[in-house]
């Protein structure tokens, strides 16, 4: 290679009506390095990536690939140029095989035109997957794979397209720690082969672990680019938010009140014999790897999943919860880990999403009082500082952090006393994160009882008064706030 760099974006600007999403942004990507791009939601990262992938056209600026000016008009052109993207939400063809997914659009043909040479396709797919250290049967259907394995397939696809720049958008958001370790070793391998990785993530610890170079963006502008060892976490956070954040956790000593929720011998398809008490004013953390059964436990308490055996007591009274409707009646609220699936009606307005569970409150006899609904929704928008142009805006248009706040607003409107937060800050920028943390601590101070599940250990440690650790569907340990450390949690979670 003549140039030390593979891909260069120069003075890229892009405006949407009312917003300058990118303002003369420069980015230089070098081969064999992991270049992390970080910034709050709305900083312009995804717009920049969409431009690099040919999904959006820049208003101004140039893209150079290996010293040659390129115009990326479509995803196909971006891929042909040598850029691939592993998207955060993988949407493969679930019914097709691994091999068919890898070579989709790029199938090896046989002598008869239009026919696919299946044998060669499977052979090449197996080679690729082996190279990535994944020993899987490439004729298996995509839908049978775990998210980590699907990601592997996407990476294999990028390699089969001979991409030299691979964009990874929050690749670890749905992975367990073990799977993350595997992904990181693959990234190392790709680096060895001179492939450049553009890495997008909000997780500080992994950014410092995996990156070589880091670029900070804020409000559509390029703030800085430097080597990762030239910066520390505190400095980085202050660059991202444009202000110093002393501590994003505002943890106070809680004095838990009486027991509000207790479950005994709770057993479901993916967990068994779960026993715990939850007190008013307490934040109970539930830690465990992805797939350990932690989400299934809280979902069953909320009536989203079947309970095979065991009892739930609220304020000492046994209750039957067969549906979320029953749960809400018993003043339980859930902020689900999957806000697009269980949290929001994306095509509905912010207002209608907020009021969805509590329309009873804005009713005059048979009919809804739309004015009152509007007032109630606006009060929540102000209280939670939801950034939206109006309460009639579709939820779809809001950033992840603001969408999450809508879900929280909806749950709070129900007057839930027991609120379950499952991965409350997944895919959310650091500013919204700290607001949500503050809100959670405040709710506990008000006497609500909270359960929080998180894959991010600092989050669990920073919020919880007590931590349960789940492994293979069982509670393996219970740690107090004082004794809990990241290492101790991982020890029990992985064993």
């Amino acid at each position: 290679m003549n140039q030390p760099w593979l891909l260069k974006a120069e003075n890229i600007s892009k405006s949407f009506p009312g917003v300058k999403a990118l303002d003369k942004v420069n980015l230089t990507i070098e081969g064999g390095k992991v270049h992390t791009i970080i910034g709050e939601n709305g900083a312009g990262k995804s717009t920049l990536m969409k431009i690099l992938m040919g999904i959006l056209l820049p208003d101004e600026g140039e893209i150079l690939y290996k010293g040659v000016k390129v115009k990326l008009m479509s995803v196909q052109e971006a891929i042909k140029t040598g850029i691939s993207m592993i998207h955060q939400e993988l949407l493969p063809f679930p019914e097709l095989s691994i091999a068919e997914n890898i070579f989709m659009g790029n199938e090896p043909t046989s002598r008869i035109p239009g026919w696919i040479n299946k044998r060669e396709m499977n052979k090449n797919a197996a080679l690729l997957m082996n190279k990535l250290g994944a020993k899987v049967d490439v004729t298996r259907a995509m839908k049978e794979l775990s998210i980590a394995e699907m990601q592997m397939v996407e990476i294999a696809k990028a390699i089969s397209n001979q991409s030299e720049v691979i964009i990874m958008d929050e690749p670890t958001s749905a992975l367990s720690n073990r799977e993350i370790a595997i992904l990181f070793s693959i990234i190392e391998e790709l680096k060895q082969q001179g492939i450049a990785i553009i890495y997008i993530s909000h997780k500080m610890d992994e950014i410092f672990k995996i990156s070589d170079t880091i670029t900070v963006m804020r409000d559509g502008k390029h703030i800085t680019t430097c080597a990762i060892n030239a910066i520390d976490q505190k400095k980085l956070i202050s660059l991202i938010v444009g202000r110093e954040i002393n501590s994003i956790f505002d943890k106070k000593e809680n004095t838990p009140g009486e027991v509000i929720l207790s479950v005994t011998e709770l057993t479901g398809e993916k967990f068994k014999d779960i026993n715990f008490n939850l007190r008013r004013g307490e934040i109970l953390g539930i830690a465990g790897l992805m797939g350990s059964g932690r989400t299934e436990i809280v979902n069953s308490i909320y009536g989203l999943e079947k309970i095979v055996k065991g009892d739930i007591f609220i304020n000492g009274k046994k209750v039957k919860i067969r549906s979320p409707k029953d749960a809400i009646k018993n003043s339980i609220g859930l902020v689900s880990e999957d806000r697009k699936k269980y949290g929001l009606v994306l095509g509905s307005s912010v207002k209608h999403n907020i009021s969805l569970s509590s329309l009873e409150k804005c009713k005059n006899g048979l009919f809804l009082n739309l004015k009152e609904e509007n007032e109630i929704a606006n009060a929540q928008i102000n209280k939670l500082n939801i950034k939206t142009s109006s309460s009639d805006q579709l939820a779809n248009y809001l950033s992840g952090g603001n969408q999450q706040k809508i879900v929280i607003a909806k749950v709070l409107l129900n007057d839930a006393d027991i609120i379950i937060f499952d991965e409350p800050t997944r895919g959310i920028d650091i500013g919204a994160k700290s607001e949500i943390y503050k809100l959670m601590t405040q709710l506990a101070t008000e006497g609500k009882a909270l359960i929080v599940i998180s894959s991010e250990l600092p989050e669990i440690l920073g919020l919880s008064d007590r931590i349960l650790i789940i492994r293979e569907g069982e509670i393996k340990a219970e740690l107090s706030q004082a004794e809990a450390t990241q290492e101790l949690i991982m020890k029990h979670a992985m064993a």
């Binding site: 009312g18 999904i55 063809f93 979320p324 859930l334 969805l356 009919f367 805006q393 248009y397």
Partner: protein, 323 residues
């Protein structure tokens, strides 16, 4: 390549949503007005009170059906059995409407009950049996048609009482009864969708069933409700039709469901559910009616009319997507 997931969500980010929504809101009205203006210029008889009343009466049956199926489509479902329900309820109501037998109340009740019952069966099989709505209502389409033929022995049921025939042929304050019924249905349906909890839940279920459930909504009962409303209105439409042609026709109403669905789609309701308005459906039905009427006035043969109607349906939706 599987890069669909990279594309921006449904509404592209570089469109101002406000403008898009504004156009969505009024585009269909503008189209309707344009068609009316064109026809007013092209034919002398279009803009006469007599013709307008005729168009309204003609569309009232399709309009009532379309409003019913709007509920189903907003909730994310589909109903293909409407045309057959029209025939069955018409034949059944007519069988109880011979002069000097059961009066007016019994045939009306029979017609409506048949609609409600079929809606209940459809809804229960779809929700409890977890069978796709397309399949269930496709099956019901032939079952109800068969029942209509069995009940009537394949023959038209005629010789109906004057009071029964008044529903389709009579007037109140110089306005034909079918138009009044259509108006009442529009009003009640709009109020239900906009001002009741149930109406709001219909949108939520169609927009995101999982989130609706997690928000404490009984998704199955909402779906059941939409199928009952839909078939119930088809029952009403069957009575109006039988009364208007003074005969219970077992072969009536073939493909009526398609005209109804077309009106809904032209009216801007997405077949994927979660959005839509009654007023849109009404304008959709008006557009279909005005086109039929206009093509008649222009002396275009009924064969060519079908082609033009099809083009307009696809064109209207295409325009809507572009905007």
């Amino acid at each position: 390549m599987n890069f669909k997931n990279l594309l921006p969500p449904k509404l592209p980010a570089d469109h101002s949503p406000a403008i898009a929504i504004q156009f969505k809101k009024y585009g269909i009205f503008i189209a309707f007005l344009l068609i009316c203006i064109l026809l007013t210029i092209a034919t002398p008889n279009f803009l006469t009170l007599q013709n307008i009343v005729m168009v309204l009466r003609q569309i009232s049956i399709n309009g009532i059906l379309a409003i019913g199926v709007t509920f189903v489509i907003i909730s994310g479902g589909i109903d293909l059995s409407l045309g057959s329900v029209v025939a069955l309820s018409g034949v059944a109501a007519a069988s109880f409407a011979h002069p000097g037998t059961y009066g007016l109340f019994v045939p009306l009740l029979v017609g409506l009950l048949i609609g409600v019952t079929i809606g209940t069966v459809n809804g229960l099989i779809i929700t409890k049996g977890k069978v796709a709505a397309f399949i269930v209502t496709l099956g019901m389409m032939t079952i109800a048609r068969g029942l209509a033929l069995v009940v009537s022995d394949g023959r038209p049921v005629s010789n109906l009482s004057d009071s029964f025939n008044f529903i389709g042929g009579g007037e109140f304050l110089n306005i034909p009864i079918p138009i009044l019924l259509f108006g009442a249905v529009i009003l009640i349906a709009s109020v239900i969708l906009k001002y009741t909890k149930t109406g709001r839940y219909v949108y939520a279920v169609g927009g995101n069933e999982n989130a609706a459930k997690a928000s404490g909504i009984n998704v199955n009962s909402i779906k059941l409700f939409t199928y009952i409303i839909c078939s119930g209105l088809a029952g009403l439409a069957g009575i109006v039709l039988a009364s208007r042609i003074t005969t219970g026709q077992p072969n009536a109403g073939v493909a009526y469901e398609l005209d109804a669905i077309a009106a809904v789609v032209i009216g801007g309701t997405s077949l994927s559910g979660g959005s839509g308005k009654i007023i849109g459906t009404v304008v959709g039905a008006l557009i279909i009616g005005v086109i039929n009427n206009g093509l008649d006035l222009l002396n275009i043969t009924s064969y060519s009319q079908q082609i033009i109607k099809g083009l307009i349906i696809v064109g209207a939706v295409l325009l809507d997507r572009k905007n």
